[in-house]
């Protein structure tokens, strides 16, 4: 073996976005990839249609979320338009008992894992911090602190090891998150303990206004091997590639071989959140170019090319998408805020005398208004 004294980075994360593994080209033609193909040889037209439907539902709910925010029904919304394939493809590769630790943008992951309409709006509306039961959905509440959940996933995976369970843990985060200490520490822990965890980085090119080149001067997937973690860089707008790669990664982690890392190269078509103005930092040409790679259109083209498309299917998906969006709207509009003293609930699992006293005092204060309310009637 020769001794290498220097390791020179050779790729640029901004310009080499086409150096990725893929199975469906932007025009919908199917390509072969020796590494990925074996992982999806069971995927028939029915499966592809399921993926199409899932992505369409995500887009529909996402569009509704933006509308609800614009109409003042939600305080904020973090769109995921353009990232549906990365979310649905990877999430569909998991078992229901695997445990997922998502970031705030993983709407599609949540829907695939069984989120109900209310689950996707109530926290953005400010009614509760987190909605669904994490243990039931085997999905942690969406994380706002960038990268923090990567450590939780590793810890959970260490727990799986101790229980000799057959599940894996999965951490989702963005390209910006890879600059965080937590994500790097997570990779150290995962690698050192061979934890059954998969890291999924959705590289959507932007961290609010900061391009990925501010976070990385080398493709992000290239970092993982430095931690002793095998990785794959995939076309994040190719749902089949995302499914295949995640099946590989999950299988690797499940087999006891330790963690795996995926970088799904994609693009955030909308603003960072509804409070953001991407025209300040983003070139319209880029948006146009990425629109040509749309993950849903791409799968539609493949299905059509393979004669697996018909009007009834299209209409059925559109109906489901409308129904789900309507249910989400309904959940937002009919949300009932909890009673005032609920702000004190669940701060502690066991009684805490200081908080109990504060709750009593505030309750008594509020009771003081009871007469006024009587009078007003």
């Amino acid at each position: 073996m020769t001794t290498m004294h220097t390791l020179n980075p050779t790729a640029d994360p901004a310009t080499d976005i086409d150096e990725v593994a893929r199975l469906i080209r932007a025009d919908g033609t199917r390509v072969c990839d020796g590494e990925l193909d074996p992982w999806v040889d069971d995927v028939d037209h029915a499966f592809l249609r399921d993926l199409y439907r899932d992505m369409s539902l995500v887009r529909s709910v996402d569009t509704e979320g933006v509308a609800l925010q614009r109409q003042g029904q939600l305080g904020l919304w973090a769109p995921c338009r353009g990232q549906e394939a990365a979310q649905v493809g990877t999430a569909r590769a998991l078992r229901p008992d695997d445990f997922v630790f998502p970031s705030y943008r993983e709407l599609g992951v949540g829907l695939v894992r069984g989120a109900e309409p209310a689950d996707v709006v109530l926290s953005w509306r400010g009614e509760v911090h987190a909605t669904y039961d994490p243990q039931r959905m085997r999905t942690a509440p969406p994380q706002i602190i960038i990268g923090a959940q990567s450590l939780h996933a590793v810890g959970y995976a260490m727990g799986i090891q101790r229980d000799r369970g057959g599940e894996i843990a999965v951490a989702y985060f963005g390209d910006g998150a890879t600059s965080q200490g937590d994500v790097n520490e997570a990779m150290v822990f995962a690698s050192s303990f061979a934890a059954p965890v998969v890291f999924v980085c959705s590289n959507n090119q932007w961290a609010i206004s900061e391009p990925v080149t501010v976070q990385a001067r080398f493709p992000i997937a290239g970092r993982a091997p430095g931690f002793g973690i095998p990785s794959m860089r995939i076309d994040g707008n190719d749902v089949l590639a995302c499914l295949a790669a995640m099946r590989w990664a999950a299988d690797h982690a499940r087999s006891g071989a330790g963690p795996a890392f995926l970088e799904a190269v994609t693009y955030r078509m909308g603003p960072h959140t509804t409070s953001d103005d991407p025209t300040r930092y983003r070139a319209p040409e880029d948006l146009e170019a990425w629109a040509q790679r749309d993950p849903i259109m791409r799968l539609e083209a493949l299905l059509k090319a393979e004669d697996a498309w018909d009007d009834a299917f299209e209409a059925g998906v559109a109906d489901r998408a409308d129904e789900l969006a309507a249910a989400v709207r309904d959940a937002a509009l009919h949300a009932r805020s909890r009673e005032p003293l609920a702000v004190f609930d669940d701060v502690y699992a066991e009684p805490h005398t200081a908080l109990a006293a504060q709750r009593r005092r505030f309750g008594a204060y509020l009771d003081g208004f009871a007469d006024d309310e009587e009078d007003a009637r």
Partner: protein
């Protein structure tokens, strides 16, 4: 009843908790083969193996963050932060994750973590090894904060912390690690109560951690002078047992609070305000606090000047008793020009 150092009492507490509940997992730097830099976890690796006594990478956020994941999975992690000054890299995980997950999820996720921190000064340590960060954690809702001062409490309260379904930040005064005391290994006294470390009737002196020792010395010295000081060891900093404190202050009418940490927005400020709210009409004198200075922890050769010693405590005791004492330094501080104008 055994005679144990605090370090040994803590080790017994851990061993007992691990035997009682196989979901208890220890994590930290050097806690395995070495037994921890203070040897608190000595022998535990041999008894429980590397899956339950985990030597971690050198990453504090990593230690606490992975403990969060273990708690999601139903484990009860006990993490050791090697020294007080090294908890800051884990601060985000503690205050944003550990403290809030139960609240965020409407009680569906429990975080029964115990975060052990060898704590505070007086041992001639290097920089960043003598910090008193307790107020940060007391200020954080969702955490419980314990500070022990003697082997018996160390043993009992550590087991209680581990059994508690809430996260507990557990401060262990380094200065007392090697001090021996009697430990009743069957003791199961309740959690969260303050302890009257020495009864008295003239002044209530409230403190916690290693400062309890200094306070007791001060009380012994005052006794010779005919002053009876009641020393109260808080033990629990969140929540504080105000029932015990207020009962004492209502009897003595005088209160001094002392701790090593700086005074600004610290425990003493909180305790005094809370006692004034409860006992204003019983107070015979303005309460006093005797704390570390509001400075970065000084170099070891100067730390004795920083730590509130017996004399500084007795000076404050004199003040609340209305006896001659050193000037407070506050006298000429308030100058309101308009007011002076008005007087003229």
């Amino acid at each position: 009843m055994s005679r144990l150092t605090m370090a040994a009492a803590l080790g017994h507490g851990l061993r007992r908790a691990m035997r009682d509940d196989e979901r208890v997992v220890l994590m930290g730097e050097d806690i395995g083969r070495l037994g921890g830099v203070f040897r608190v976890t000595d022998g535990l690796l041999d008894e429980f193996g590397p899956a339950r006594v985990v030597d971690t990478p050198l990453a504090e956020a990593g230690i606490v963050g992975t403990a969060v994941g273990l708690a999601y999975r139903g484990f009860r992690p006990v993490v050791e932060i090697q020294f007080d000054g090294f908890v800051y890299p884990a601060f985000d995980q503690i205050v944003c994750q550990v403290a809030k997950l139960h609240y965020r999820t409407q009680g569906r996720v429990r975080m029964p973590l115990t975060i052990r921190i060898p704590w505070a000064g007086g041992v001639g340590a290097a920089e960043h090894h003598s910090e008193s960060p307790e107020a940060y954690f007391v200020h954080t809702s969702g955490l419980r904060v314990i500070a022990v001062s003697q082997p018996q409490d160390a043993y009992v309260m550590l087991r209680q912390a581990i059994a508690c379904d809430d996260p507990v930040v557990f401060f262990e005064p380094k200065r007392l690690y090697h001090r021996k005391g009697d430990v009743d290994l069957a003791d199961a006294s309740p959690m969260g109560l303050a302890r009257v470390a020495r009864p008295g009737h003239d002044v209530t002196l409230v403190t916690y951690g290693a400062q309890v020792t200094t306070a007791l010395d001060a009380a012994a010295a005052a006794e010779e002078d005919g002053v009876s000081i009641e020393v109260i060891d808080l033990r629990s900093l969140s929540p504080v047992d105000y029932r015990t404190l207020a009962a004492s202050v209502r009897r003595t009418g005088r209160v001094v609070v002392t701790h090593e940490a700086g005074g600004e927005a610290g425990m003493a400020a909180e305790v005094i305000t809370s006692l004034v709210e409860r006992c204003f009409h019983y107070l015979e004198a303005p309460p006093e606090r005797v704390t570390g200075h509001d400075i970065p922890y000084p170099p070891a050769k100067l730390e004795a000047l920083h730590l509130p010693d017996l004399d500084r405590i007795l000076d404050a005791v004199d003040r609340v008793l209305g006896r001659p004492a050193s000037p407070t330094g506050f006298e000429d501080e308030v100058v309101i020009p308009e007011a002076e104008e008005a007087v003229r």
